[in-house]
Assembly symmetry: C2
DNA sequence: GTCTATACTCCGATAGAC
DNA sequence: GTCTATCGGAGTATAGAC
Protein backbone atom coordinates (compact mmCIF):
# COMPACT_ATOMS: atom_id res chain seq x y z
CA UNK A 1 0.00 0.00 0.00
CA UNK A 2 2.80 2.37 0.71
CA UNK A 3 4.61 1.35 -2.46
CA UNK A 4 1.39 1.69 -4.38
CA UNK A 5 1.00 5.20 -3.11
CA UNK A 6 4.63 6.05 -3.74
CA UNK A 7 4.44 5.02 -7.36
CA UNK A 8 1.14 6.76 -7.93
CA UNK A 9 2.22 9.93 -6.20
CA UNK A 10 5.47 9.95 -8.09
CA UNK A 11 3.76 9.75 -11.48
CA UNK A 12 1.24 12.40 -10.50
CA UNK A 13 3.92 14.69 -9.19
CA UNK A 14 5.93 14.56 -12.41
CA UNK A 15 2.77 14.93 -14.51
CA UNK A 16 1.69 17.99 -12.55
CA UNK A 17 4.99 19.72 -13.11
CA UNK A 18 5.10 18.91 -16.82
CA UNK A 19 1.49 19.93 -17.52
CA UNK A 20 2.23 23.17 -15.73
CA UNK A 21 5.41 23.86 -17.66
CA UNK A 22 4.41 22.66 -21.11
CA UNK A 23 0.66 22.38 -21.26
CA UNK A 24 -1.51 19.38 -22.04
CA UNK A 25 -0.77 18.52 -25.66
CA UNK A 26 2.94 19.25 -25.46
CA UNK A 27 3.31 16.79 -22.59
CA UNK A 28 3.45 13.18 -23.71
CA UNK A 29 2.79 10.18 -21.53
CA UNK A 30 6.17 8.82 -22.59
CA UNK A 31 7.88 11.89 -21.16
CA UNK A 32 6.01 11.54 -17.89
CA UNK A 33 6.96 7.88 -17.72
CA UNK A 34 10.58 8.55 -18.56
CA UNK A 35 10.99 11.29 -15.96
CA UNK A 36 9.17 9.40 -13.25
CA UNK A 37 10.98 6.15 -13.99
CA UNK A 38 7.69 4.25 -13.98
CA UNK A 39 6.75 1.76 -16.69
CA UNK A 40 3.75 2.35 -18.91
CA UNK A 41 1.65 -0.44 -17.45
CA UNK A 42 1.98 1.14 -14.06
CA UNK A 43 0.54 4.43 -15.27
CA UNK A 44 -2.55 2.76 -16.67
CA UNK A 45 -2.93 0.67 -13.53
CA UNK A 46 -3.00 3.76 -11.32
CA UNK A 47 -4.82 5.98 -13.83
CA UNK A 48 -7.15 3.76 -15.84
CA UNK A 49 -8.59 6.72 -17.71
CA UNK A 50 -5.19 7.65 -19.05
CA UNK A 51 -4.04 11.14 -19.85
CA UNK A 52 -7.34 12.87 -19.11
CA UNK A 53 -7.52 11.43 -15.59
CA UNK A 54 -3.90 12.38 -15.04
CA UNK A 55 -4.67 15.97 -16.05
CA UNK A 56 -7.71 16.16 -13.79
CA UNK A 57 -5.80 14.91 -10.78
CA UNK A 58 -2.92 17.22 -11.64
CA UNK A 59 -5.29 20.19 -11.66
CA UNK A 60 -6.66 19.20 -8.24
CA UNK A 61 -3.11 19.04 -6.97
CA UNK A 62 -2.30 22.47 -8.38
CA UNK A 63 -5.50 23.78 -6.85
CA UNK A 64 -4.52 22.65 -3.36
CA UNK A 65 -1.05 24.18 -3.62
CA UNK A 66 -2.25 27.48 -5.05
CA UNK A 67 -5.13 27.80 -2.61
CA UNK A 68 -2.65 27.33 0.16
CA UNK A 69 -0.44 30.11 -1.20
CA UNK A 70 -3.34 32.51 -1.52
CA UNK A 71 -4.59 31.87 2.01
CA UNK A 72 -1.15 32.25 3.52
CA UNK A 73 -0.52 35.51 1.64
CA UNK A 74 -3.88 37.05 2.40
CA UNK A 75 -3.85 36.30 6.11
CA UNK A 76 -0.55 38.11 6.59
CA UNK A 77 -1.99 41.62 6.16
CA UNK A 78 -5.17 43.17 7.40
CA UNK A 79 -5.49 45.53 4.48
CA UNK A 80 -6.86 43.76 1.42
CA UNK A 81 -4.93 46.03 -0.92
CA UNK A 82 -1.65 45.39 0.84
CA UNK A 83 -2.28 41.66 1.10
CA UNK A 84 -3.14 41.26 -2.58
CA UNK A 85 -0.20 43.38 -3.62
CA UNK A 86 2.20 41.29 -1.57
CA UNK A 87 0.63 38.14 -2.95
CA UNK A 88 1.32 39.23 -6.53
CA UNK A 89 4.86 40.23 -5.65
CA UNK A 90 5.36 36.75 -4.27
CA UNK A 91 4.13 35.23 -7.52
CA UNK A 92 6.54 37.49 -9.41
CA UNK A 93 9.40 36.40 -7.19
CA UNK A 94 8.54 32.74 -7.74
CA UNK A 95 8.09 33.23 -11.48
CA UNK A 96 11.36 31.64 -12.50
CA UNK A 97 11.12 28.85 -9.95
CA UNK A 98 9.93 25.66 -11.63
CA UNK A 99 8.95 24.13 -8.32
CA UNK A 100 6.33 26.77 -7.64
CA UNK A 101 3.00 26.63 -9.39
CA UNK A 102 0.88 29.61 -10.17
CA UNK A 103 -2.50 30.03 -11.70
CA UNK A 104 -1.51 30.18 -15.34
CA UNK A 105 -1.47 26.52 -16.01
CA UNK A 106 -5.15 26.24 -15.22
CA UNK A 107 -6.22 28.73 -17.85
CA UNK A 108 -3.84 27.34 -20.42
CA UNK A 109 -4.94 23.79 -19.77
CA UNK A 110 -8.56 24.73 -20.28
CA UNK A 111 -7.87 26.72 -23.41
CA UNK A 112 -6.01 23.77 -24.84
CA UNK A 113 -8.53 21.13 -23.92
CA UNK A 114 -11.84 23.03 -23.99
CA UNK A 115 -12.95 21.23 -27.12
CA UNK A 116 -11.95 17.73 -26.08
CA UNK A 117 -12.69 17.40 -22.36
CA UNK A 118 -15.59 18.77 -20.37
CA UNK A 119 -14.34 17.15 -17.19
CA UNK A 120 -10.99 18.93 -17.30
CA UNK A 121 -12.85 22.20 -17.84
CA UNK A 122 -15.16 21.58 -14.90
CA UNK A 123 -12.29 20.65 -12.62
CA UNK A 124 -10.50 23.87 -13.53
CA UNK A 125 -13.66 25.89 -13.06
CA UNK A 126 -14.14 24.61 -9.54
CA UNK A 127 -10.53 25.43 -8.67
CA UNK A 128 -10.61 28.97 -10.03
CA UNK A 129 -13.94 29.75 -8.37
CA UNK A 130 -12.41 28.79 -5.05
CA UNK A 131 -9.56 31.25 -5.51
CA UNK A 132 -11.93 34.03 -6.51
CA UNK A 133 -13.94 33.37 -3.39
CA UNK A 134 -10.83 33.89 -1.29
CA UNK A 135 -10.11 37.28 -2.87
CA UNK A 136 -13.75 38.23 -2.55
CA UNK A 137 -13.91 37.40 1.16
CA UNK A 138 -10.75 39.36 1.84
CA UNK A 139 -12.21 42.41 0.11
CA UNK A 140 -15.51 42.15 2.00
CA UNK A 141 -13.61 41.78 5.27
CA UNK A 142 -11.87 45.04 4.43
CA UNK A 143 -15.12 46.92 3.88
CA UNK A 144 -15.82 46.54 0.15
CA UNK A 145 -19.44 46.21 -0.92
CA UNK A 146 -20.24 42.49 -1.38
CA UNK A 147 -21.53 43.02 -4.92
CA UNK A 148 -18.45 44.90 -6.04
CA UNK A 149 -16.17 42.55 -4.10
CA UNK A 150 -17.51 39.60 -6.03
CA UNK A 151 -16.79 41.16 -9.41
CA UNK A 152 -13.40 42.31 -8.18
CA UNK A 153 -12.58 38.82 -6.94
CA UNK A 154 -13.11 37.44 -10.42
CA UNK A 155 -11.24 40.34 -11.98
CA UNK A 156 -8.25 40.13 -9.64
CA UNK A 157 -7.85 36.49 -10.50
CA UNK A 158 -8.04 37.31 -14.22
CA UNK A 159 -5.45 40.05 -13.80
CA UNK A 160 -3.04 37.65 -12.17
CA UNK A 161 -3.60 34.96 -14.75
CA UNK A 162 -3.14 37.46 -17.56
CA UNK A 163 -0.03 38.92 -15.98
CA UNK A 164 1.60 35.52 -15.52
CA UNK A 165 0.94 34.73 -19.18
CA UNK A 166 2.30 38.13 -20.14
CA UNK A 167 5.41 37.46 -18.08
CA UNK A 168 5.79 34.21 -19.97
CA UNK A 169 5.77 36.14 -23.23
CA UNK A 170 8.54 38.40 -21.91
CA UNK A 171 10.42 35.58 -20.20
CA UNK A 172 10.57 38.04 -17.35
CA UNK A 173 8.51 38.79 -14.25
CA UNK A 174 8.28 42.51 -15.00
CA UNK A 175 4.61 42.47 -16.11
CA UNK A 176 3.73 40.82 -12.79
CA UNK A 177 5.73 43.41 -10.90
CA UNK A 178 3.98 46.19 -12.79
CA UNK A 179 0.62 44.68 -11.92
CA UNK A 180 1.62 44.62 -8.26
CA UNK A 181 2.57 48.30 -8.47
CA UNK A 182 -0.81 49.11 -10.01
CA UNK A 183 -2.84 47.37 -7.32
CA UNK A 184 -3.00 50.29 -4.86
CA UNK A 185 -4.14 52.60 -7.67
CA UNK A 186 -6.65 50.10 -9.02
CA UNK A 187 -8.24 49.15 -5.70
CA UNK A 188 -8.17 52.46 -3.88
CA UNK A 189 -11.55 53.79 -2.83
CA UNK B 1 0.12 35.07 -59.24
CA UNK B 2 -3.42 35.70 -58.21
CA UNK B 3 -4.11 32.00 -57.82
CA UNK B 4 -0.91 31.66 -55.85
CA UNK B 5 -2.08 34.34 -53.50
CA UNK B 6 -5.53 32.86 -53.24
CA UNK B 7 -4.24 29.46 -52.23
CA UNK B 8 -1.75 30.91 -49.78
CA UNK B 9 -4.26 33.26 -48.24
CA UNK B 10 -6.81 30.50 -47.95
CA UNK B 11 -4.45 28.21 -46.05
CA UNK B 12 -3.34 31.04 -43.79
CA UNK B 13 -6.88 32.09 -43.09
CA UNK B 14 -7.95 28.61 -42.02
CA UNK B 15 -4.78 28.17 -39.97
CA UNK B 16 -5.34 31.45 -38.16
CA UNK B 17 -8.84 30.47 -37.14
CA UNK B 18 -7.83 27.00 -35.98
CA UNK B 19 -4.77 28.15 -34.01
CA UNK B 20 -7.02 30.70 -32.34
CA UNK B 21 -9.73 28.21 -31.48
CA UNK B 22 -7.65 25.18 -30.53
CA UNK B 23 -4.10 26.32 -29.88
CA UNK B 24 -0.89 25.24 -31.54
CA UNK B 25 -0.47 21.59 -30.62
CA UNK B 26 -4.13 20.70 -30.90
CA UNK B 27 -4.19 21.96 -34.47
CA UNK B 28 -2.73 19.52 -36.96
CA UNK B 29 -1.53 20.37 -40.43
CA UNK B 30 -3.86 17.70 -41.76
CA UNK B 31 -6.85 19.51 -40.29
CA UNK B 32 -5.73 22.79 -41.81
CA UNK B 33 -5.29 21.07 -45.16
CA UNK B 34 -8.63 19.33 -44.96
CA UNK B 35 -10.58 22.47 -44.07
CA UNK B 36 -8.83 24.62 -46.63
CA UNK B 37 -9.12 22.02 -49.36
CA UNK B 38 -5.45 22.42 -50.22
CA UNK B 39 -3.11 19.48 -50.69
CA UNK B 40 -0.12 18.98 -48.41
CA UNK B 41 2.47 19.79 -51.05
CA UNK B 42 0.86 23.16 -51.57
CA UNK B 43 1.24 24.05 -47.90
CA UNK B 44 4.95 23.33 -47.93
CA UNK B 45 5.35 25.22 -51.17
CA UNK B 46 3.81 28.36 -49.70
CA UNK B 47 5.20 27.87 -46.18
CA UNK B 48 8.57 26.13 -46.53
CA UNK B 49 9.21 26.32 -42.80
CA UNK B 50 6.09 24.34 -42.09
CA UNK B 51 3.97 24.65 -39.00
CA UNK B 52 6.15 27.16 -37.21
CA UNK B 53 6.05 29.60 -40.12
CA UNK B 54 2.32 29.12 -40.39
CA UNK B 55 1.92 30.00 -36.71
CA UNK B 56 4.09 33.08 -37.02
CA UNK B 57 2.16 34.40 -39.98
CA UNK B 58 -1.11 33.57 -38.25
CA UNK B 59 -0.04 35.62 -35.23
CA UNK B 60 0.81 38.58 -37.46
CA UNK B 61 -2.62 38.29 -39.02
CA UNK B 62 -4.31 38.19 -35.61
CA UNK B 63 -2.22 41.18 -34.57
CA UNK B 64 -3.45 43.28 -37.49
CA UNK B 65 -7.10 42.42 -36.84
CA UNK B 66 -6.91 42.98 -33.10
CA UNK B 67 -4.96 46.22 -33.42
CA UNK B 68 -7.65 47.43 -35.75
CA UNK B 69 -10.37 46.60 -33.22
CA UNK B 70 -8.55 48.37 -30.42
CA UNK B 71 -7.96 51.51 -32.46
CA UNK B 72 -11.53 51.67 -33.65
CA UNK B 73 -12.90 51.20 -30.11
CA UNK B 74 -10.57 53.68 -28.48
CA UNK B 75 -11.15 56.48 -30.97
CA UNK B 76 -14.90 56.42 -30.43
CA UNK B 77 -14.80 58.01 -26.97
CA UNK B 78 -12.76 60.83 -25.59
CA UNK B 79 -12.71 59.45 -22.06
CA UNK B 80 -10.15 56.67 -21.72
CA UNK B 81 -12.21 54.92 -19.06
CA UNK B 82 -15.34 54.93 -21.18
CA UNK B 83 -13.45 53.87 -24.31
CA UNK B 84 -11.71 50.95 -22.60
CA UNK B 85 -14.93 49.84 -20.95
CA UNK B 86 -16.77 49.84 -24.27
CA UNK B 87 -13.90 47.98 -25.88
CA UNK B 88 -14.12 45.19 -23.31
CA UNK B 89 -17.89 45.03 -23.69
CA UNK B 90 -17.36 44.58 -27.41
CA UNK B 91 -14.97 41.69 -26.77
CA UNK B 92 -17.58 40.15 -24.46
CA UNK B 93 -20.26 40.52 -27.12
CA UNK B 94 -18.00 38.88 -29.70
CA UNK B 95 -16.97 36.12 -27.31
CA UNK B 96 -19.12 33.43 -28.86
CA UNK B 97 -18.44 34.52 -32.41
CA UNK B 98 -15.83 32.25 -33.98
CA UNK B 99 -15.10 34.76 -36.71
CA UNK B 100 -13.84 37.36 -34.28
CA UNK B 101 -10.40 37.07 -32.80
CA UNK B 102 -9.37 38.41 -29.46
CA UNK B 103 -6.13 38.55 -27.63
CA UNK B 104 -6.29 35.22 -25.85
CA UNK B 105 -4.82 33.15 -28.58
CA UNK B 106 -1.58 35.05 -28.43
CA UNK B 107 -0.95 34.25 -24.79
CA UNK B 108 -2.04 30.66 -25.18
CA UNK B 109 0.11 30.16 -28.24
CA UNK B 110 3.16 31.44 -26.40
CA UNK B 111 2.49 29.38 -23.31
CA UNK B 112 2.18 26.30 -25.48
CA UNK B 113 5.25 26.93 -27.60
CA UNK B 114 7.54 28.85 -25.26
CA UNK B 115 9.90 25.92 -24.97
CA UNK B 116 10.06 25.01 -28.64
CA UNK B 117 10.03 28.24 -30.61
CA UNK B 118 11.70 31.52 -29.82
CA UNK B 119 10.46 33.07 -33.05
CA UNK B 120 6.80 32.47 -32.22
CA UNK B 121 7.42 34.03 -28.81
CA UNK B 122 9.09 37.10 -30.29
CA UNK B 123 6.32 37.58 -32.83
CA UNK B 124 3.72 37.45 -30.08
CA UNK B 125 5.75 39.81 -27.93
CA UNK B 126 5.89 42.43 -30.66
CA UNK B 127 2.13 42.17 -31.19
CA UNK B 128 1.19 42.48 -27.52
CA UNK B 129 3.55 45.40 -26.97
CA UNK B 130 1.80 47.23 -29.78
CA UNK B 131 -1.59 46.81 -28.12
CA UNK B 132 -0.25 47.96 -24.77
CA UNK B 133 1.13 51.04 -26.45
CA UNK B 134 -2.34 51.88 -27.74
CA UNK B 135 -3.88 51.66 -24.27
CA UNK B 136 -1.01 53.64 -22.83
CA UNK B 137 -1.37 56.47 -25.36
CA UNK B 138 -5.08 56.68 -24.76
CA UNK B 139 -4.51 57.00 -21.02
CA UNK B 140 -1.84 59.68 -21.45
CA UNK B 141 -4.14 61.56 -23.82
CA UNK B 142 -6.74 61.56 -21.05
CA UNK B 143 -4.38 63.04 -18.49
CA UNK B 144 -2.79 60.03 -16.80
CA UNK B 145 0.83 60.34 -15.74
CA UNK B 146 3.04 58.72 -18.44
CA UNK B 147 4.78 56.47 -15.93
CA UNK B 148 1.53 55.16 -14.49
CA UNK B 149 -0.08 54.99 -17.92
CA UNK B 150 2.66 52.67 -19.14
CA UNK B 151 2.16 50.21 -16.29
CA UNK B 152 -1.60 50.45 -16.68
CA UNK B 153 -1.33 49.77 -20.41
CA UNK B 154 0.43 46.50 -19.69
CA UNK B 155 -2.01 45.69 -16.89
CA UNK B 156 -5.13 46.45 -18.90
CA UNK B 157 -3.97 44.11 -21.61
CA UNK B 158 -3.28 41.41 -19.01
CA UNK B 159 -6.73 41.92 -17.50
CA UNK B 160 -8.38 41.42 -20.86
CA UNK B 161 -6.32 38.36 -21.70
CA UNK B 162 -7.03 36.87 -18.29
CA UNK B 163 -10.73 37.64 -18.54
CA UNK B 164 -11.05 36.05 -21.98
CA UNK B 165 -9.36 32.92 -20.65
CA UNK B 166 -11.63 32.99 -17.61
CA UNK B 167 -14.65 33.29 -19.89
CA UNK B 168 -13.38 30.26 -21.76
CA UNK B 169 -13.37 28.31 -18.48
CA UNK B 170 -16.98 29.34 -17.88
CA UNK B 171 -18.04 28.92 -21.51
CA UNK B 172 -19.70 32.27 -20.91
CA UNK B 173 -18.78 35.91 -21.36
CA UNK B 174 -19.79 36.88 -17.82
CA UNK B 175 -16.21 37.27 -16.50
CA UNK B 176 -15.51 39.70 -19.36
CA UNK B 177 -18.68 41.61 -18.57
CA UNK B 178 -17.73 41.79 -14.91
CA UNK B 179 -14.32 43.14 -15.87
CA UNK B 180 -16.01 45.82 -17.98
CA UNK B 181 -18.17 46.78 -15.01
CA UNK B 182 -15.09 47.06 -12.81
CA UNK B 183 -13.18 49.35 -15.19
CA UNK B 184 -14.65 52.67 -13.93
CA UNK B 185 -13.87 51.67 -10.35
CA UNK B 186 -10.38 50.44 -11.20
CA UNK B 187 -9.32 53.41 -13.33
CA UNK B 188 -10.99 56.26 -11.49
CA UNK B 189 -8.67 58.92 -10.16
C1' DG C 1 0.37 -5.16 -8.75
C1' DT C 2 4.45 -4.58 -11.82
C1' DC C 3 6.40 -4.43 -16.04
C1' DT C 4 7.32 -5.41 -21.32
C1' DA C 5 6.09 -5.67 -25.84
C1' DT C 6 3.30 -4.14 -29.12
C1' DA C 7 -0.90 -2.32 -31.57
C1' DC C 8 -2.66 1.39 -33.99
C1' DT C 9 -3.27 6.12 -35.18
C1' DC C 10 -1.74 10.50 -36.37
C1' DC C 11 1.92 13.73 -36.50
C1' DG C 12 5.04 16.85 -39.38
C1' DA C 13 7.80 16.50 -43.30
C1' DT C 14 9.68 15.04 -47.92
C1' DA C 15 10.24 13.17 -52.67
C1' DG C 16 9.05 13.23 -56.97
C1' DA C 17 5.38 12.73 -60.75
C1' DC C 18 2.86 15.83 -63.46
C1' DG D 1 3.18 25.48 -59.14
C1' DT D 2 0.07 21.61 -57.95
C1' DC D 3 -0.75 17.41 -56.10
C1' DT D 4 0.00 12.31 -54.35
C1' DA D 5 2.32 8.82 -51.98
C1' DT D 6 4.93 7.78 -48.43
C1' DC D 7 8.47 8.21 -44.73
C1' DG D 8 10.06 7.99 -39.90
C1' DG D 9 8.75 8.93 -35.49
C1' DA D 10 5.79 10.05 -31.60
C1' DG D 11 1.26 9.90 -29.81
C1' DT D 12 -2.09 7.11 -26.65
C1' DA D 13 -3.61 2.85 -25.36
C1' DT D 14 -3.82 -2.35 -24.67
C1' DA D 15 -2.62 -7.32 -23.98
C1' DG D 16 -0.65 -10.40 -21.39
C1' DA D 17 3.66 -12.45 -18.98
C1' DC D 18 5.28 -12.58 -14.41
Amino acid sequence: MSSKNDSRQNILSVATRLFHLQGYHATGLNQILKESGAPKGSLYYHFPNGKEQLAIEAVKRMDALIKNDIVSSLEKYESAIEAIQIHIQKIAADFTNDEKLECVPIGILVAETAQISESIRETCKAAVEGWEELYCSKLIGDGFEPDLAKKLGVTINSMIEGAVTRSLINKDSQPLQQLAECIPVLLKR
